[in-house]
Subunit: 196 residues, 2 copies
DNA sequence: ACACTAAACTAATAAGCGTTAGTTTTTGAC
DNA sequence: GTCAAAAACTAACGCTTATTAGTTTAGTGT
């Protein structure tokens, strides 16, 4: 009978979605039950439906929210007049920051987007594809300017993105080595490699 | 009432596990039902239990099989007398080959190991940690021999491993660009970077 | 042809799922 | 304090799940 705490800035549905993101990250979307989610919030399962439409809707909110953040960021970056190398640098650091500060949502969006139902699955994949293509363009620009080695830009981008997706493993290390140092290591490795 | 086809070399449980790997990859472990798995094999769900112990057991077989293959490979590599740089090269190529030739099992092991029940979850994580540590040692050796730049070897290894885990995205491209070329691109990018 | 065994079948069970309906309690503005 | 709205509750439904029990069919060696 305890009520969900909320403020002017954070709606009750946001509180639910945050708790859901944490649960989905830990157990996976399909293995997480509405009953367990409710229990974590100190209420009964049916009470959730005063604030959210369905379990599927929660996942959609999480995934589309992340997609929006990344789309927003790369659009702003595209409009800026910077060198391709700098753009890639900024992009990588943004991924790292997102992973450190929005860990649960990032994890869920990365791992559970397959469970989205149409048309949201298609939308999500389109957004992803579009992001990827913008990134490919940055690499192509860099190759033309001789900033980057000639390569298969598609493969280059997918390699970087999958490396960044794995950042979730470093979430647990984020307290011991500070963010900036971690950022620098990863950016350096992805851009200039490890061979001396 | 059709029987599961099997040969002297491939047992019926292996046929089931292969079909399960394909299904689990497509829908995820929790979203895959024994009924659907049986249907894909042309039998009824309860008939599966003549060959396998449980759904959970199938996942265990998949995950421990992959863990074994990688453990085996890195142990053999450790015993070989090769330069760290060459070891890392071989390791990366092995990951790529495994992903291309054992796609379903690799995908499932990478994505669904969280659904393992104890004690298999702990075993799997220990195997993974051990593999990671062996790889860290290779990088450390390389740094001492000045093959590699000084860095945080742990971060270096985790970055490479997460990039390799994302190889599943390239499975669909594997028909257009041949394996060797893909291997070379990825090895080059991970070892020497993209900046010219 | 016969018997043994492997492997399929049908029927059913208990548990868990997301969700709805209907009701009661709590909260906040006047 | 009163009243409306928000948000909690209990009870239950319909469905799916993995799995078991018991039975029948099919394949194999003699």
């Amino acid at each position: 009978m305890s009520k969900i705490v909320s403020s002017r800035r954070i709606s009750k549905s946001d509180v639910i979605i945050s708790a859901a993101a944490a649960l989905f990250r830990e157990k996976g979307y399909r293995s997480s039950s509405m009953r367990e989610l409710a229990e974590n919030l100190g209420i009964e399962a049916p009470s959730l439906y005063n604030h959210i439409g369905s379990k599927a809707e929660i996942l959609q909110e999480i995934c589309s929210g992340i997609a929006f953040d990344f789309g927003d960021h790369i659009a702003a970056l595209d409009n800026s007049e910077q060198e391709p190398r700098k753009k890639l640098d900024v992009l990588i650091r943004f991924h790292i920051k997102m992973m450190l500060h929005n860990y649960d949502r990032m994890f869920v969006a990365n791992h559970e987007w397959r469970q989205l139902v149409e048309p949201h699955l298609t939308t999500f994949l389109q957004d992803r594809k579009s992001y990827e293509q913008r990134m490919v363009q940055i690499v192509k620009d860099g190759i033309i300017k001789k900033d980057f080695k000639a390569s298969q830009p598609q493969v280059t981008v997918l390699t970087i993105l999958s490396a960044l997706r794995g950042l979730e493993f470093w979430h647990k290390y984020s307290n011991i080595s500070n963010t900036k140092k971690l950022e620098n290591s990863i950016v350096s490795q992805l851009l200039t490699g490890i061979v001396s």
